[in-house]
Symmetry: C2
Subunit: 203 residues, 2 copies
DNA sequence: CTGCAAAGTTGCAGTGAGTGCATCTTTTTC
DNA sequence: GAAAAAGATGCACTCACTGCAACTTTGCAG
């Protein structure tokens, strides 16, 4: 037995600490604002030393966002895994919709809480966008591979960037209105994009 | 009769100091990296006190980027100023192309220098994207007014976001290859967008 | 169970970002 | 030529973040 497949006590505790820190960060920032909270506050709320906080996150902002480092890779794989009959744009669309489904089921409440905090702090928004940039790079690679173009060609870059734009619009509208479910808004935006944006919907 | 309606000596000096700080920031960061430069270094190179630095910029990053706070308003006005016969998408396209022309003529060399620094520092990239977000908000307002839709409707938000995406792609390709002029790359991306991104160019 | 190694946690000290306040200097205005 | 307005500066302070050196917990044999 080289190694038990399950995670040991050590890893479990580590994840708990990470979650406790992130949860505390979101809660405290929601209540007191980003500048009204110190790393010491967050650490205290999670019952660890301030020094330990920095063993998990590079700063307050990252603790609040707690980005998923594997999302890019999943999306990239998703784009490549779509049936060959789909166009590249359709493949990206399906992969994104699948990912959105996973995200929401996994973490619905904490995600909306996080989002409302991000709305009120431009600095956090900046980091979210930067994170999206990272993800976008992976998606570009997936598209490029799928259509057989280099990663620095216009088409893969633009398809990824435009899809990202549609995603951001959908999320913004979803969090603002709350009326329609996110997948619906996302499909609406992607359809509009596929229509070339020539004119506003003639409703 | 010292009442010259133009800008006085005070304002001129202020602008000079601002430029000196920004130039020093870009130069020093280009040479030593973002973390190899302190605010003190930048201030010294610009011959002002560190305290004064913070009267102009909120931090190193902003000094490097020195964003133009009026670009958003110009673009918004540009969108509204296009001839009525143009579609909304065409209006945004023309306004953006005009703005790109202005930017490049005004500041060509320092802009490419800035860009190469940004490329190597994800933190700076994050702030650029956040700045783009601000501009995008203005463009959304311009589009919404032009087509008579609310600012939180999908169409204005998506047109602005997708155009922003095309712009970023064009800039990325321009700085990477350097082959074609920026307006050409921008037109290429916008055309692809208008075609709905259904398929890669069949060349 | 016992001891050892690996990994995680903590305290400490130090650099540097960023801010509020009082003071000084320069420009503007009357 | 002052008084007033605005900028520049120094000072003191808080907090972010890092490297380093213990110290504690967990994992793994023997």
């Amino acid at each position: 037995m080289t190694k038990a497949a399950g995670e040991g006590l050590r890893d479990r505790k580590k994840r708990q600490t990470r979650e406790a820190l992130s949860r505390a960060a979101v809660d405290l920032v929601a209540e007191h604002g980003l500048d009204g909270v110190t790393v010491e506050d967050i650490s205290a709320a999670a019952d660890v030393s301030p020094r330990t906080f920095f063993n998990y996150f590079t700063g307050k902002e990252e603790a609040v966002l707690a980005p998923d480092p594997e999302m890019g890779a999943r999306l990239r794989a998703g784009v490549l895994a779509q049936p060959a009959r789909l166009s590249a744009a359709e493949a990206v669309r399906e992969a994104l919709l699948a990912e959105v489904g996973v995200e929401l089921n996994e973490d619905r409440t904490s995600w909306t809480r996080r989002m409302s905090v991000v709305q009120q702090h431009p600095v956090l928004l900046a980091r979210v966008l930067a994170g999206g940039e990272q993800v976008e790079r992976e998606v570009v690679a997936g598209i490029a591979e799928r259509v057989g173009l280099p990663v620095d060609a216009t088409y893969p870059m633009l398809l990824a960037a435009a899809t990202g734009a549609a995603f951001r619009v959908a999320v913004a509208r979803w969090s603002a209105t709350g009326s329609a479910p996110l997948p619906t808004l996302l499909v609406e935006a992607l359809d509009l994009l596929a229509a070339g944006l020539a004119n506003p919907p003639q409703s």
